[in-house]
């Protein structure tokens, strides 16, 4: 009697699990199945032998990767750019969100918000084109204006020194709207009561930002920072692949782990090196997430991912 009731109770969940099946199947195939492929990094892979049939070679692939100068370059570039992007987007995102919150006229606020988010919806291929419209050798507006003033072309696409700056500007232009929207949503959620009380006490706008807005934003900032820290070893492939136009002269400052893996795999066909770099990326990433999650649990439990 009891047993049949518990079976019936379990039975009622079956339709729900069935609803989840297509989605779970997709995650299984797309995200979990490839994980077995991580062992390729420890093998001398040939298509004929397949993943499990290919011979184990221990850490050989990693030795090749880490004796090359590139291992350091791609690590430095990936981390360096990500840190700069996180810093700039967080500061500007918060600032723009505070400014947007000041705009009381709904329609005007919507216009600003719409425009600031627009670049986020562009594909990186298109972003690459937009950058050439500015920096192209002959057709770019910058060199065009320089020439009309009697100057010389600047070789944007072959000079390393410009690229850290160009990539930072392009990334900020494209991504700052995203951070702005998230911070604005939190600020709107604070309500007016704190600010009204501050008004009565005669606090200036800057004092209100410093003593009300920023402290209240702390949990959102910490959450977004944790999420970006978890991705600090992953780079925006499109940004580093499309914007510098794959120019080999620039690799020293434009090659990241993701572009390196792509080029090693699909341009050079070097499965050993690319799988080693890919493995290295996946595991450092996981370590970062565990580390930041651990820190997060100590800081505020409810904001930890797990």
């Amino acid at each position: 009697m009891d047993r049949s009731r518990s079976i019936r109770r379990a039975w009622k969940w079956v339709p729900l699990y069935a609803l989840a099946v297509p989605g779970l199947a997709y995650f299984f195939i797309n995200n979990y199945l490839p994980m077995e492929g991580l062992v390729i990094a420890f093998k001398s892979y040939t298509a004929k032998a397949g993943i499990w049939g290919s011979p184990w070679i221990g850490l050989k692939n990693f030795e090749f990767l880490f004796v090359s100068k590139e291992a350091w370059t791609i690590t430095r570039n990936t981390l360096g750019y990500n840190l700069a992007f996180i810093l700039v987007n967080t500061v500007l995102g918060i600032a723009l969100a505070i400014f947007l919150n000041e705009i009381r006229k709904k329609s005007l606020r919507k216009v600003y918000q719409t425009m600031i988010l627009l670049p986020y919806l562009m594909s990186m291929v298109v972003v690459g084109y937009l950058v050439t419209a500015f920096l192209g050798e002959n057709t770019g507006i910058v060199n065009g204006i320089l020439r009309s003033l009697g100057g010389q072309n600047i070789q944007w696409y072959t000079t390393k020194a410009y690229w850290p700056f160009i990539l930072l500007v392009v990334n900020t232009w494209r991504m700052v709207g995203f951070d702005t929207i998230i911070y604005l949503a939190s600020i709107v959620g604070f309500g007016d009561q704190y600010y009204e009380a501050a008004e009565i006490d005669g606090a200036t706008k800057l004092q209100q930002i410093r003593h009300i807005t920023l402290p209240l934003l702390k949990p959102s900032i910490v959450m977004l920072l944790t999420m970006s820290m978890g991705r600090i070893f992953r780079s925006d492939f499109g940004l580093f692949f499309q914007v510098p136009r794959s120019n080999g002269l620039l690799y020293d400052v434009t090659q990241t782990i993701d572009t390196y893996v792509y080029r090693a795999l699909l341009v050079k066909g070097d499965i050993g090196m690319s799988s080693a770099a890919s493995f290295y990326q996946s595991f450092v990433c996981l370590a970062m997430i565990l580390l930041f999650n651990w820190m997060m649990r100590r800081y505020s439990r409810e904001n930890a991912l797990f």
Binding site: A95, L96, M122, S123, G136, G230
Partner: protein, 289 residues
Amino acid sequence: MDRNHRVFRGFSNAVLALVSLAALLPFWLLISASLTEETTAVKQGFRFLPQVFSTEAYRFMASSWVLFGRAYLISIIVTTLGIAIGIAVTLPLGYVIAREGLPGRKVLTFLIIFTMMFNGGLVATYLMYTVTFHIKDTLWALIVPNMVTNAFFVIMIKNYFQYSIPKELFEATRIDGASEFAMFTRIAAPLAKPIAATLALMTGVSYWNDWMNGLYYLDNQKLYGIQNLLNAIATSTRYLAQGAGVGVRLPTETVRMAAAVIAVLPIMIAYPFFQEYFVRGITMGGVKE
């Protein structure tokens, strides 16, 4: 409003106006560039207003419409299919992991969030799709890998069901003895229209903008969508020249810009109307337990 406030508001307006302008300016330049006469462009560079106006680039695209039309059509087909499959897969899954009381719900949620943190990487994914699933040079290559759904979308749907729909709506039906399946089809799905619209738009934009799957999995250029076409003509003129008739002058630089214009056009036109849906999606996708 006192002086301090007025000054701050004025300053906010000024900064936002400048930032908005900076966001828009590159598109303005792109359009102007596409309407510039080719030799002038090469000699003097693009300007925010064409120094010598010409529709040559667009006329060239119209004359090699097979090339551009095919890519455009493929992008439309892939985007449409992608949206349909994406919604069919994501919406039910988000609903299920939002359902309180479901045994194993925590585990499922974790398995989905875990994909944000760890994955097999490009090499393993590439080999699986090409060697095991033989996806290379098929239309599926543009639809399936990494695009159908992701943890962010599922969490967005889950958060919507959990926080934006009053629980009482479900309670009442539950008492009526409706099955869990009927609750989804009769109550949840109709109520999910706003978030489904958000999901459709976000999925649509990512399919329309995707070029990586084409880069990884396509050798056959006949399957290129508009973004891969752009990628192919960015640095090489060979591909463009195929479309040109005999003796037709190829205005390379301006055609590139014009092709980029037609690629962004659908988004530029649709986006202002759907802006709120995107904003909702971005703010609802935050991971929250």
